[in-house]
Symmetry: C2
Subunit: 363 residues, 2 copies
């Protein structure tokens, strides 16, 4: 590796990477298939043992009556909101300004479902009970994302969620959980996933974030809701003849990693402390509440990138594959701790951050 | 196997099956992955070598400027029609009464895109130039399905398609090809896929019919059309982080089978002749024009099924895994010839149809 390569290229060639489970390569699929007998039948348009068993297993884990496997969370969540809007006769929902549906889906919710969002809270903070109580518009559904990914994976106090849930039930507002990273927050709340999901009417979880599968999502809720979601799944073009490549890998990596979320969480706190001890760096949250956090740097991307490349080359430790400028003249990146972190010798990690601090002091 | 089992169960246990490529099991995926190096990078949200190379390859095969891989044809076709409707400012398209969008998609086109279809022709026959010329409504797009699957995979004369294409171009009507089974009809027309697609503005092809992949589709057309389809793919929830399990298998089985379509076609003609020589049976088309055809039986399902089960048990040859009643007091099934047919010894096939004829004469 050399300093003419991109940050991502230099990162990819480091010996030790602090983020993620490993490369997103074909081996992820090959490994999961190794132990599976080739004669196992494919699922067929949502039917068959492969898909039904996994749906039942995740429904039980989430404490919900039924669940359905979707190719993507984008599809699952638009459909959940559409069902609640149709049922309530109100084409309006509320969510955070940095909700996935608002910033990453090319306005699918508006263009396909003609549902208008009410944006709650300032984009730099979490939704609070007051935001919900003081909302002027009638809404069919409130979506809460736990953790709030785009602001570093922050979480409200559990009592705040309970209060929001009680308010919504009282007002007849459906409460939907964007649980893309639900597995990752169970250790912080010290609640079961089923307890957390019990506060919500519908829940989506993803299998390629902390779980590290290839793709795929599950939507869970009461039987009538899930049955209707299957009709919309077909309308969206998501009722594939075979979803088993995603289901088998989701199941395989769920089994491998769902019980490691506590380990990732502890490691994230340790790693965040390393960053926070460095000059001109701080994490959001200051102490992580899951396996993820954001690091904000006083230096802009232009100045930070060459420094990081040199660091990776000198120490063999890669901290992040990318840097983005933030709105305050500095820059930031997102860190997600996974299987790789535990394999990094402490002395290498210490040396990497000492070297980084030395670089920063030379500026 | 025994006569108490379902027709499908008895069929599955036969030594020789006249339809299909083989079981839809996990081995289909494992086999395709065997030769692929685990270090190959995943595609990422529509980018990367795995997806881009395959899209380019199929665009070239279809003679179109660009192509995009979709998880399903349902998604690809709704999006194609939506783009043409938006461009023309007309929320109306025309297609056959037994079009996939009309009967298999839970009205996704209407519910998600608010596009109204004009149903052309009687459901038992193909769309002809006259149907298009005499249409009273303004439409943005005409969809032709080649072959017309639900009526046995019939095809119009090539000159008829050319005339419809010329008429549509003259009138400013976009022409879309539902080419779910396009690969399968190339031998009949004695044209290249690119020549056939040259008559259309947009084309969809599937990789799990004659090609025998796991799932997946490609939409092809001009660059501006394809770029817009990628935005809609994200809106639909089809822009998965990784589609490679479908792409790699589509490519693997495309290479294996696209040049065998002529063989399947000849075999389908041979097999249809066997059925047509039997008492009270006839195929649609009488002489197949691809690897597929329908068999219509004078006997209703209730009387035919026990007879077929006995046939499978006595001869070890399975003709079909299911029978459906038709509207004329008889019954029917669909036959698609694939890799299995060539492995059946002629003497076993002869014996099966002789035995079937003997059963029929005993009624």
């Amino acid at each position: 590796m050399n300093a003419d390569q991109s940050l991502s290229e230099v990162f990819n060639e480091t010996t030790f990477k602090v983020t993620g489970h490993g490369s997103r390569d074909i081996q992820v699929l090959k490994l999961a298939l190794e132990q599976i007998d080739g004669s196992l039948d494919s699922d067929m348009y949502g039917k068959g043992k492969v898909i039904e068993d996994f749906q039942d297993k995740i429904a039980t884990y989430l404490g919900k009556e039924n669940a359905v496997f979707f190719p993507s969370g984008t599809m699952a969540q638009q459909i959940a909101l559409r069902i609640w809007c149709d049922q309530q006769g109100i084409k309006r929902v509320a969510y955070h300004p940095l909700c996935h549906l608002e910033i990453h889906e090319e306005d699918g919710l508006k263009e396909l479902h003609h549902i208008e969002p009410v944006l709650l809270a300032d984009k730099n903070r979490l939704i609070q009970l007051d935001d919900v109580v003081n909302m002027k518009e009638d809404i069919a559904c409130l979506l809460l994302e736990l953790p709030q990914r785009e602001i570093g994976g922050q979480l409200p106090d559990y009592a705040e969620i309970e209060a929001i849930s009680a308010f919504c039930r009282d007002k007849g507002i459906k409460l939907h959980l964007d649980g893309a990273r639900l597995f990752e927050i169970v250790p912080y709340y010290q609640k079961t996933a089923a307890e957390i999901c019990g506060l919500f009417d519908s829940v989506y979880v993803s299998f390629y974030k902390g779980i590290g599968g290839i793709a795929g999502a599950v939507l869970a809720g009461e039987a009538a809701f899930i049955n209707e979601s299957k009709i919309w799944k077909r309308r969206h073009g998501g009722d594939l003849i075979s979803l088993y490549p995603y289901i088998l890998t989701s199941d395989y990596y769920f089994e491998q990693r769902v019980d490691k979320m506590g380990q990732y969480y502890e490691e994230a706190k340790e790693l965040a402390a390393y960053f926070n001890r460095c000059h001109g760096m701080s994490t959001i949250p200051l102490e992580p509440v899951s396996n993820m956090f954001h690091v904000h740097f006083e230096l802009p991307k232009e100045k930070l990138e060459p420094l990081l490349k040199n660091l990776y080359i000198e120490t063999g430790v890669g901290l992040t594959s990318y840097i983005r400028d933030n709105s305050k003249g500095g820059s930031y990146c997102e860190i997600s701790v996974g299987d790789r972190y535990i394999g990094i010798p402490k002395k290498d990690l210490d040396k990497a951050f000492q070297t980084l601090e030395r670089y920063l002091n030379q500026i």
